[in-house]
């Protein structure tokens, strides 16, 4: 079966300190080669802490940044790296900050019309029908159409953002922290809406978040990112319960959980390595309790460990823990 | 620190070259024949040719530029035909006078502007704030040359507190008190606009900073309000004030042209205006390049001060 979405060695390197003429002073590898398959109708969660490259990965996926290497395939076809519009019909993006993702000087109607006009060339009547349909599916009233973004609460604005993504009629949505700017009581509304839309339209989701519990609650599979690379992939119900990579375990142990006593899960340096000057070997080695010489010399590749679980680690944890 | 200064100096080289190119290009636009302008319409062809050769006008533009640049680098800015003396000598002499005037003004407007702005912000909507805002509005709306003229009427003609014009008294002057008496009115007239601009900016920069979280932290620590304003807030506000001081220095230097004319100050601005009206191109070129170069260096100094204040800059 062809996966709905395939990332093949996708990576992104940003030059740093570039001058008008001449070469850059250094390079930051924001995303190190990532290879992942996402099945039709699946929700793949991506978790990681700030600076791990998850947002850059998302921007690569929808064509907002051209990758430095590798490619994105949708339904078995590679996409033109340089054209966001080519991506737009197939894969859409829902932004983290619902307010700043809506142009403050445009009415909701004109925001929703753009993808219909530009990507699908619909005429005015078709657009009006389609907009009504989409609005109903995200539970917004039609009278909102002539209002402006500042008149909406965060939750409503995020529904509009989702509506815009739906309007493009793409089968795959990249959701970049779609609920982290929202209040908890509203978060659940939006998460449930996303689940309902997925069922209704048979969508495929990439759900990016720093919140482990949210990712676990909405995903089929989860990929854990650290320092620009995927360090572990596995089924949502098992990956945090039985992590193979020590970093996944650290994340899971750090999340505040009711009923678990407060302990600092690691006593060591908590800082990410300097991205301009990355250490050789596994980037997690300086923080890792199990690190040995090989970890400091050689960056491990993602390897299959057990059913459906992959981890990039020289000394993976036992499956039982 | 030394490394940073060196880096900034090196980065100024292309800017300085750019300045010479711009000046050269603008001057190359000049219509008509400089030789005719110099010699008048009765010039003989031989004389015109000689002048053209002297000015290098018989060569292609690129070659002329490099000859001109090379000469300037060796300190030869050419000869002013209207004054019949080397351009550099005249420029240096006149620039000294301008520096005294503009420098004094710059100090006045920086200190007064920042203090007024900070007081205004600290007493927002209070009496002091309103008075300062009103004074600033007047200050930035009045043309400096008109203000200078009115000051002459009020303080040199009506009440003979200050001399009408000039830099030194013609007889028996030349000492520092004499200079100060001559300097007072033009320096103040020149400083007024810039003071207003700086005060406005300082006020809004302070208001901006006073809302920030670290001000709340300082208050939560129990730092006395006076120290919150004059230490915490002003220090942070200076980061956005200092670059504007650099820009305002350019405005003060520019305003000096008018003030020098009004007060007959023997500065470089007056020299330039006269040179333009007499079409003394070499003098204009030399003066413009020299002053612009000094301004570039001054702005490097501003950047260095900024980097001393803000540790986040040093890279």
């Amino acid at each position: 079966m062809t996966p709905a979405l395939r990332l093949d060695g996708l990576s992104k390197t940003f030059p740093v300190g570039k001058k008008l003429i001449g070469a850059a002073r250094g390079h930051v590898r924001a995303v190190r080669p990532v290879t992942l398959d996402v099945a039709e109708g699946e929700t793949l969660g991506i978790v990681g802490e700030s600076g791990c490259g998850k947002t850059t990965l998302a921007r690569l996926l929808v064509g907002l940044e051209p990758p430095s290497a590798g490619r994105v395939e949708i339904g078995g076809k590679a996409l033109d790296n340089a054209d966001p519009a080519a991506f737009g019909r197939l894969i859409q993006y829902v932004f983290q900050d619902p307010i700043s993702s809506l142009n403050p000087r445009k009415s909701i109607r004109s925001i929703l019309e753009v993808p219909l006009k530009r990507l699908h060339g619909m005429d005015a009547d078709e657009r009006a029908d389609r907009i009504r349909e989409i609005l109903a599916s995200v539970n917004l009233r039609e009278e909102f159409l002539d209002r402006f973004p500042h008149e909406f609460s965060g939750g409503q604005a995020q529904r509009i953002g989702i509506a815009r993504a739906l309007a493009a009629n793409a089968r795959i949505l990249v959701l970049d922290e779609p609920v982290s700017a929202l209040d908890v009581s509203v978060q659940a509304q939006v998460l449930n809406l996303l689940a309902a839309l997925k069922r209704k339209f048979g969508l495929t989701y990439l759900f990016i978040s720093h919140d482990l519990a949210v990712v676990e609650a909405v995903s089929d599979r989860v990929a854990v990112m650290y320092f620009g690379a995927v360090v572990e992939v596995g089924r949502a119900e098992t990956i945090f319960a039985a992590p193979r990579h020590p970093y996944t375990k650290l994340l899971a142990d750090s999340a505040p959980v009711v009923g678990r006593p407060l302990t600092a899960p690691e006593g060591k340096d908590t800082e990410l390595p300097d991205p301009l000057n990355p250490p050789p070997g596994c980037p997690f080695a300086p923080r890792c309790p199990k690190a040995t010489n090989i970890c400091r010399a050689e960056d491990p590749a993602l390897e299959k460990m057990g059913d459906d679980q992959f981890a990039a680690c020289h000394h993976p944890l036992d499956a039982e823990t | 620190m030394g490394g940073y200064i060196l880096k900034r100096l090196v980065s100024a080289v292309p800017v300085l070259l750019g300045i010479t190119v711009i000046v050269f290009l603008i001057m190359a636009l000049i219509p008509g024949d400089p030789a005719t302008a110099i010699l008048g319409s009765y010039a003989t062809p031989e004389n015109v040719e000689k002048i053209n050769r002297d000015l290098g006008l018989d060569k292609p533009a690129v070659a002329r530029y490099f000859i001109w640049l090379g000469n300037m680098l060796t300190g030869d800015f050419g000869r002013s035909f209207s004054l019949n003396r080397p351009v550099l000598d005249e420029v240096l002499e006149r620039f000294g006078a301008t520096l005294v005037l503009a420098g004094t003004s710059f100090v006045i407007c920086s200190v007064l502007g920042i203090v007024a702005g900070a007081v205004s912000a600290a007493r927002q909507y209070g009496l002091a704030d309103k008075a300062i805002t009103f004074a600033v509005l007047i200050g930035i709306s009045i043309p400096s040359f008109f203000l200078g003229m009115m000051m002459i009427l009020a303080f040199a003609v009506e009440r003979r507190w200050f001399p009408v014009s000039g830099m030194y008294a013609i007889y028996g002057g030349g000492d520092l008190p004499d200079l100060a008496r001559h300097l007072a009115m033009p320096a103040v007239a020149l400083a007024v606009v810039a003071t207003g601009v700086i005060a406005r900016l300082a006020r809004s920069a302070m208001l901006e900073v006073l809302r920030l979280d670290f001000i709340r932290t300082a208050r939560a620590k129990g730092v006395p309000e006076r120290r919150v304003i004059w230490h915490h807030a002003l220090k942070a506000a200076m980061v956005s004030i200092i670059p504007v001081l650099g820009i305002q220095a350019g405005f003060v230097l520019s305003g000096a042209v008018y003030i020098e004319i009004v007060f007959q100050w023997p500065g470089i601005g007056r020299m330039l205006v006269t040179a333009i009206l007499q079409r003394d191109i070499l003098l204009v070129q030399g003066g413009v390049v020299f002053v612009a170069a000094c301004y570039v260096l001054f702005n490097i100094a501003v950047d260095v001060v900024q980097s001393l204040l803000d540790p986040r800059i040093k890279t």
Partner: protein
């Protein structure tokens, strides 16, 4: 647009400037049909007539020309030239700025280097050079003034455009299929235009001054043509003998420029959303207090907040952020205050020491007792002495809450120095000691670091050290770990927990995270719509929440280890605190709501250690053994 005009008209100074300007422009337009003497006809017999002389209302100049006529013709010319120069500079400069800012990268680099080059000249040198090349004349002066102002617009607008081009809605437009041109004209431009208008309205007066200046120098309009600058320039020779010839054009320039500036400021204020909402007000050193009734002391525990009411007065609206909140913290206790954004939890915390930004904040009732005295009514001097000494704060975002230009050691030392006289060397030693206490490695060298040189977790440790500096009885921690990554959060929380147990300091811990509360706090109070709706020991609330809001809020939050599931959402939105319903604030969203809930405010029911503000609680707190 109508809102803009209304705001503009409300600003009296701007209105005044606008009226004067309109009058001047009107007269200028009418000049050709007014019964004026010809402006350029000389009559040496009538030289230097004084104002109000026969037939010459403003007198005559050195060539006997009618000053009134010359003034009006000159004003007409000066205004026209000034406006044209401003529009030309604004259009060209903004176009350059938008292109550079939107495309960024090399395009931006090359354009901005050119702009920098032009800005490397004191502007008049460039203007003089241009006039020198083109020759004196009004049109050339116009070109020179416009040209020297282009870089200012370009740089200003580029900065704004860069900010907008990185906004997410621009990315969204690209994904919706818009090309560069469409994005520039329909997404970016509408957001930049207000800034261009502001920049233009604040510089147009300046440009009129500049063109007048060039004419004054004799480089602008040429005789006999009059503009305001050249009139002033010609009059200068007779300044002392016949000042009126100078005063007349000079005052005119002043009037025009000041009215443009007034109007320009008005335009800026009306267009700038931050100024519009009054956000640029300077917060006072302590929150305003206007209490009608004051609860009597001395209060219990180490901090006793009673019936606290804090409001925000914005225009005619009153936001009741904190609505009669009472909380008591026992010595050494950690009390959690949990709620969503807008529930009033942070405002409660900030009110205690008068740190709510004021304006617009006002404390309208209640008290906060510390050692028998009321902090709310305390004069600033006393309040300041207690701040950071007896009651200390830790705030949310450690990057913005530390002063960026002061070394952390100095900031620590200052916290001590403003309360205690300690010699300098001793201060440094104490700072190092404090950094060590919050487990910062290499405290000895870290003490000289600036905040930006540290990671988020390290900075928050510094903030904790600062709060501990004077060994306070209470620390108020306002979402201290919300901005941190989860692995760092775990460390900071366990550090805070260890320190409070070691030092016996009480903590008021504000958060929105039940997981954090469960791990940190002895007791919890839940806030909703500015009120405490439930209060109990942590375990009781987590095991058997009594208020429907608490229960449903906990159900909303997924917990790690629960696997994939549907979450229970609460329908609707949190209440707006300027439009609170008369009854229970949660009633519109509550599935157990009945008539009584909506009718009148619900009182707090207390039983044992528990309290709940609900008529139909989920758990009977009186029966439930607390």
């Amino acid at each position: 647009m109508t809102r803009f005009l209304w705001l503009l008209a409300r600003n009296q100074l701007a209105l005044m400037g606008g009226i004067v300007l309109v009058l001047v422009v009107l007269v200028c337009v009418l000049v050709p049909v007014l019964p004026l003497r010809p402006p350029d006809v000389t009559n040496t017999a009538d030289r230097f007539l004084a104002p109000f002389s026969d037939g010459h209302l403003l007198g005559t100049d050195h060539l006997g020309r009618d000053l009134l006529s010359r003034l009006l013709w000159g004003t007409r010319l000066s205004l026209a030239v000034g406006f044209v120069a401003a529009i030309a500079a604004a259009t060209l400069g903004s176009a350059i700025g938008i292109v550079a800012g939107y495309f960024g990268g090399r395009t931006d680099n090359i354009i901005m280097r050119g702009v920098d080059m032009l800005m490397a000249f004191p502007y008049i040198l460039l203007a003089l050079a241009i006039v020198a090349a083109l020759g004196p004349g009004l049109l050339n002066a116009l070109i020179a003034v416009a040209a020297v102002n282009i870089p200012f617009f370009a740089r200003n607008i580029r900065g704004i455009t860069v900010g907008i081009a990185h906004k997410e809605f621009v990315d969204a437009a690209r994904l919706a299929g818009k090309g560069h041109l469409a994005i520039l004209t329909t997404e970016i431009l509408p957001n930049v235009i207000p800034v261009i208008v502001i920049a233009m309205s604040t510089t147009i007066g300046w440009m009129i001054l500049e063109t007048a200046g060039l004419s004054f120098l004799g480089l602008g309009s040429q005789p006999p043509q009059a503009d305001l600058g050249s009139m002033l320039g010609e009059a200068r020779a007779a300044l002392i003998t016949n000042p009126h010839t100078s005063v007349v054009p000079g005052v005119m320039i002043f009037v025009i420029v000041i009215s443009i500036n007034l109007l320009g400021d008005g335009v800026r204020d009306a267009l700038d959303p931050r100024l519009r909402s009054g956000a640029l007000s300077r917060p006072r050193p302590a929150t305003n207090v206007r209490r009608e009734s004051v609860p009597q002391g001395p209060g219990e525990g180490v901090l006793d907040i009673r019936e606290l009411e804090t409001q925000f007065h914005v225009g005619k609206r009153i936001y009741r952020a904190v609505n009669r909140v009472s909380l008591t913290i026992a010595p050494g206790e950690c009390l959690g205050l949990i709620g969503e954004s807008g529930s009033g939890k942070s405002v409660t915390a900030l009110s205690v020491m008068g740190l709510v930004a004021s304006p617009p904040g006002v404390i309208t009732g209640g008290a906060a007792f510390h050692e028998g005295r009321d902090l709310i009514g305390a004069p600033y001097r006393d309040l300041r002495r207690l701040r950071g000494d007896r009651v200390a704060y830790i705030f949310q975002d450690p990057l913005s809450t530390l002063h960026p230009l002061i070394r952390v050691g100095e900031q620590l030392a200052e916290a001590i120095r403003v309360h205690h006289k300690v010699p300098r060397a001793e201060l440094r030693r104490r700072a190092v000691e404090l950094l060590g206490a919050v487990r910062i490695p290499n405290a000895e060298s870290r003490v000289d670091s600036y905040p930006h040189e540290m990671s988020g977790g390290m900075r928050q440790r510094v903030a904790i050290a600062m709060a501990l500096a004077n060994e306070p009885e209470v620390i108020i921690a306002d979402e201290p770990t919300t901005a941190l990554d989860v692995t760092v959060q775990a460390q900071v929380l366990s550090l805070l927990d260890d320190l409070r147990r070691e030092r016996g300091v009480a903590i008021l811990f504000i958060t929105h995270d039940f997981g954090v509360v469960a791990q940190m706090c002895d007791r919890v109070a839940v806030m909703y719509g500015g009120r405490i709706v439930e209060e109990a020991a942590t375990a009781d609330i987590l095991n058997a929440p009594a208020h429907p809001y608490t229960k449903r809020l906990m159900d909303c939050v997924p917990e790690l280890g629960g696997g994939r599931r549907k979450l229970d959402a609460i329908p609707g939105l949190p209440p707006a605190v300027d439009k609170l319903p008369p009854g229970c604030a949660f009633a519109p969203r509550c599935d157990k709501v009945r008539e009584a809930c909506r009718a009148a405010p619900v009182a707090m029911t207390r039983a044992g250690g528990r309290a709940v503000r609900c008529l139909y609680p989920e758990t009977d707190i009186a029966k439930d053994p607390a």
